[in-house]
Symmetry: D2
Subunit: 446 residues, 4 copies
């Protein structure tokens, strides 16, 4: 997963991009980058690490101009991920361009093969490089037309922002897999993956970019909208379940509220007699509040999430059991001891973490552990930009619910049904749920 942000006609745009990316950091911690334009030239800095690690005052100050695009990157398969950070910058026949991309192209390999056949060279391992080649090879006179021509050749998931020296372009694929919203900031505009970015920088949310829509930002003009593709919305429901920040509105709805609704549905579908509802923090908190409200079982923050959770740490000893999970989460012994717990989390991926959590809870004296998951079992991988493991690694692709329950050691285990999930989102059928129901709207082309 990744995040993108774009600013147009905003003085010191790169600094706003920096703060926006700070609030989007949860969508990608591996690498970060910003490109800016002063109308004459594009400036760029990118690197490995958190936004606060890649940038300092000096570096930001060099990114001059009143437009900018930024990116945080989740993971990279490449060898030397400095090369695989975004924005991708290139000089081509119309000048200079910088591109940021959230999503995965399903025909990336195929397009790359064809481009390579025509003599293109690829210097990174990112799908996005395809797009720039397609734009550069188009024979249209205007960037605008070239972008459209290029979009017609790519398939899959993309929320894209393109920056030229004088313009900015924001696009969403026809399915609208990944979110992309638009806001006003002073006389200028902001486009970002999640609305929490607008809150931090004080921008006023206007609307979402629509599936299949291209918005063009140009100086002295209002943003121009082109519906490039007929929309066939399949918005990623997993953004609500886990990925997005609870304080963001995604696809027009608030994440926290939907999570609570999922918790409520879960309580209706899988009630249980218990003493308290305990979330696995932080992803389980909102649905646990919902479950508690619906069931009347008191909500307790019975597991504490360490403030200093980082991405890397020493493991100098095998002697401490379940060390990694314990460094992140610690149950409150005094609260859970002798109690029957409903434990709420958003998903079970491989099952190993859930197994350890149940184990620690039991060690600390929990009488019963009733695990409730606020989503259906994850049975398939995502081809649209979420880094789920392979099908083989997903416990629910191999194990029944009962087998999973045994494996993780819970007294009972239940998942929200697909219908329950749909009810939570207002019975709106415009969502992708492929990793839960196997209905992949776009096939992956090898």
């Amino acid at each position: 997963m990744c995040s993108v942000i774009g600013l147009f006609n905003v003085p010191e745009a790169a600094k706003y991009a920096y703060f926006g990316l700070f609030s989007l950091q949860h969508r990608g911690q591996e690498a970060a980058g910003i490109a800016s334009s002063d109308g004459e030239k594009i400036y760029i800095t990118k690197g490995r690490g958190l936004v606060t690690q890649v940038f300092d005052e000096t570096k930001l100050t060099k990114l001059i101009g009143s437009s900018a695009v930024g990116h945080t990157r989740y993971s990279t398969a490449g060898e030397d991920s400095v090369l695989d950070a975004q924005p991708i910058f290139a000089r081509y026949d119309l000048g200079q361009i910088a591109v940021v991309h959230n999503g995965n192209l399903t025909n990336a390999k195929q397009v790359r093969r064809e481009l390579i056949k025509e003599g293109a060279i690829f210097q990174t391992f990112m799908d996005t490089e395809n797009l720039i080649h397609l734009i550069a090879r188009s024979h249209k006179e205007h960037l605008y037309d070239r972008i459209i021509e290029a979009l017609q050749q790519i398939e899959g998931a993309y929320s894209l922002i393109l920056l030229s020296r004088k313009k900015m372009f924001a696009v969403r694929d026809p399915y609208g897999f990944r979110p992309l919203s638009m806001a006003k900031l002073g006389d200028g505009w902001v486009v970002a993956s999640e609305t929490c970015a607008f809150d931090l920088i004080g921008a006023e949310y206007v609307r979402d970019i629509r599936p299949g829509e291209l918005v063009v930002f140009e100086e002295g003009k209002e943003p121009r909208s082109i519906q490039v593709f007929e929309p066939t919305p399949h918005k990623c429901i997993f953004e609500y379940i886990y990925f997005a920040r609870p304080d963001s509105n995604i696809f027009g709805k608030n994440v926290y509220k939907l999570r609570k609704a999922m918790g409520r549905e879960l309580a209706k579908e899988y009630p249980v007699e218990a003493d308290m509802v305990v979330p696995v923090p932080d992803s389980g908190v909102a649905s646990a509040i919902g479950y508690s409200e619906e069931s009347g079982i008191p909500f307790e923050l019975g597991i504490i999430r360490n403030h200093y959770v980082g991405r890397t740490f020493i493991e100098p000893t095998q002697a401490i059991r379940d060390l990694k999970v314990k460094m992140k989460l610690n149950p409150i012994k005094n609260v859970i001891k002798g109690k029957r717990l409903v434990v709420i989390d958003d998903s079970i991926v491989r099952g190993t973490t859930s197994k350890k959590i149940v184990n620690i809870l039991k060690d600390f004296g929990a009488k019963e552990v009733h695990m409730r998951i606020s989503a259906p079992p994850t049975t398939g991988p995502c081809y649209y930009g979420v880094d789920t493991p392979t099908k083989e690694e997903l416990i629910s692709s191999r194990y029944s619910v009962e087998e999973t329950r045994k494996y993780i050691g819970a007294d009972t285990l239940a998942y929200l049904s697909i219908d329950g999930l749909l009810r939570s989102v207002g019975n709106d059928l415009s969502y992708c749920m492929a990793c839960f129901d196997g209905n992949y709207p776009v096939p992956l082309k090898e």
Copy 2:
């Protein structure tokens, strides 16, 4: 504030100290250090920064031996705080010693003046150096007797762990201001500021070190307890209100539970008609749950705390209003808009942060903001180890509650009463509440 940990007769003691300190990191982020002993020699590493920044595998591996003491440090007044990190290590007539200390000596200046008069030199800005001088100057033959002689000369707050090459000593001042607990780990022992450290490393809590007690750890013997001073318990109630981790037991009681109790009392004392109870996370969460349960007003996690809160960041723009607070906390607009909120926090120090929070909430459309504080107004500084600002800077030392309310812009504002606070802790009178009621159990000697 600081944290201390000590391990005795535990193989790879320094590694356990490392993980213990990781879980005590919230008690001090400025500096960290560990000293270990293999029975022949004391080894030490300390430095500025978080525990995970100061140590790496190589450094930990050099800290050999089966006993160790560790420390995290909150803030330093000194110039070059490398010098002001703990443990303090010294060679003296009985050999080598390393000391870690949580608390503040109230007669530190006086003792230092006298020691200096006798020719002592002070190389750091830490109170703790006094103690080592007193031990070194004692004419007693045994370290044990010297420690007692030294303790008789110092006043104030101290939870101390001393490591010699072959023994370890843990002491708490007669008031028991700061916590210090003891646990079993395999054949060995652990002493730590909070019990959450035991949870992480898998140690079994045994009991608290008592106010005025000295416990001696020696190989091949059971820990030996000496009641050096008649206990006159004045345990810091602020540990419950704010400082300690909710998953710790402090002074024998669970922090989370007591915070909930404070929230309940607050609801009884200062009810209000409202749509939801919203904590200022994380310190306000437990008391908000208590307030919600007591009042029946639904609990909502209406403000989100950013996962990437760090200690330093760029401030390249004045243009973003309330930037610092917003980088840490973001209200969920959709949840609070048009709503009457009871907002719960643990304390108001200078008032500036609360003012900004109320401001943002109103900006985001909150209809009413009823601020409720789960502690009495902080009217005085702490002399016993908590870094509250000077009396002048404390808003409650200058402003009435009504004046404070106006300043922060809330619709109503109320603090838990001293009686309410006492009720929350079971009407136990053995607590220090000096920063709330002005009854300082030990005077500060200049």
Copy 3:
């Protein structure tokens, strides 16, 4: 200026590349990089800084395989020079390729314009990217033929090494501007900019790659040589004067010896009565020894070069006169006081440093300063890979020798004549001397 190295059929090739680059560090301190191949895949790491800063054990260990190419880079015009480090790596229709390049293409802009017209994108600011595009766009079946086709389209200076998954190619432009030598290491081969790299890694020098020659390295075969272009040798004479290490053989001759010869010629052409010959270290040392031998005036190391010269330092005070020069060079007062000095350096570029040196020498009591330069006046820039400043900045393009003498404050000033320089190199006419005589063998195309 830059350096290149390539290894073929050498176990742990990347490690040898690392040490080779260490000995070539003087040819470029800005960035360094190594790419290796294990026959299946190309691995790459590059970054800003010295070779020892960019690489550590972990990074080297990941560069597996028995072939490798490496590069050190002098300066970068680009914004974010991480992107402008070499090797350049690309995937294209024949697979993967990594390229390192020393030199400057004189038709780079023109070729780039054409490539861009055909739809190519440029992600770096390096000439070398041209070459990869040309190779990728060629319709020949074999990489070998494509390289030749590509070479036919580029002009200027290039000593290149190309690494594919299974082969390595080394080429020198028809003029042979930049050096490139070849050596045997065990069963494998090494190609490098200077022979000092062979000395360090223990390789046996075989011969120079010839101007216009392409050498192909393939497993199980002897290196194959193709004379792609008729050679018209114009080897850079400035390599002898300043750039190369004195312990290297360049274009078949030893640098130290030729420098001494220049010093001798200088003594013949511009003798002067003096007490001692003093080099500006280190570039002036060898020619000073030659001048001393020829003139009979004793050689004294009267100026000491600081061992800790670095590329960046604090300049916190204006108060210290000539600080930058003094941090690098310090005359021995006791040695030079009251003495008539012949001071030898390799060149005067802008004149500012020489002015400061003369100034300090006079300050320290030198009676007379006779500046002797072991090369003719630098009157023009280099288009072939040496980073001389623009014509305007070159003092000798604007000032006569006498004017320069006055500017730098020397008592006399003389430069080696062009004839003298030619005599030093054995009256061999196969050298480029364009920056001295204006006869540019290849024009720069804008």
Copy 4:
């Protein structure tokens, strides 16, 4: 070995200290530190690494005031050398003090034992801590008298600078083992280990501090001199041979000139028929010039010293023979091949490096290698501040000259005689030569 510097009544004293230490870096690369005083308070920063690594603009700017002392440290036996960097800072009964020290106290252990017996604590592993304790424990009223009292209790080698808030004190032990010179800078004063520091910062050398002399610097007064001890000069002759920079004057004489004289004497004592004189750079350069002048055999810089020699590097391969030496030194094959060489170095310590150098020279085709050492065989360790290895490790304490010759593989080997050395320094008998002749002027007390 270490270096010290002190500035008094010099605006921005710490910045001058920084540059002074930069020029004294060769006397210690492990740690560096500066303390300054503004008359009211002492400020200090110290840390591990080179001067340029420990300090940056921000840190220097905090060291306010017009007096300062600085230190670079060679090696540390201690565990965590941050603690063992200088200046040592302490608060004591007369206020605050910072001390820097070059040398070793021969009765350090004894004094420490006694101080410890009296109750002192030692927080570092540095001798210098003794001195501060002695000063602090003195009952004299004035710092001045206390320093004298303290000096009377310590033995061995010390060039010391002490900084109080208002004064500065510079002292040299009665033997004058280590150098210490004094210069004028504007209205203020500088004291430093070597005069090269004066050159860089533009200070005017005045005189050396005399053995046994104490100089007191006080505002508004001329420096006051007290001859605390009867001088019995035993100045370290090894400063001339190896340690000091050739551009420094040490004990009133220029190092470069004396090294040349040693080379001349060596040529007289041990002439040899040969084609060229080649120094092992840089320590052998000056004596090689002397040898060449005396013998008439031409001087050639036949071995090149790498500019990028650092203190730490990767050793990822055993395959490269003599890697460490080769990374520092490379002979010029073309120059030495088939030649009879006189190779000059300053000393042979363990013999391993010399063995490798001879080996490489032979490998590169040298016909004969005649090793000449510009000092007598090092037969004993130094107790006065030079970090020679133990007697057992010194090759000359176990092997005869002939045995050493065989071990290093030279054709002939000869050392300057003690008489020759004396002649070089003008038959002045006021030098320590203990590591050569065993006449230790002060015994080491365990």
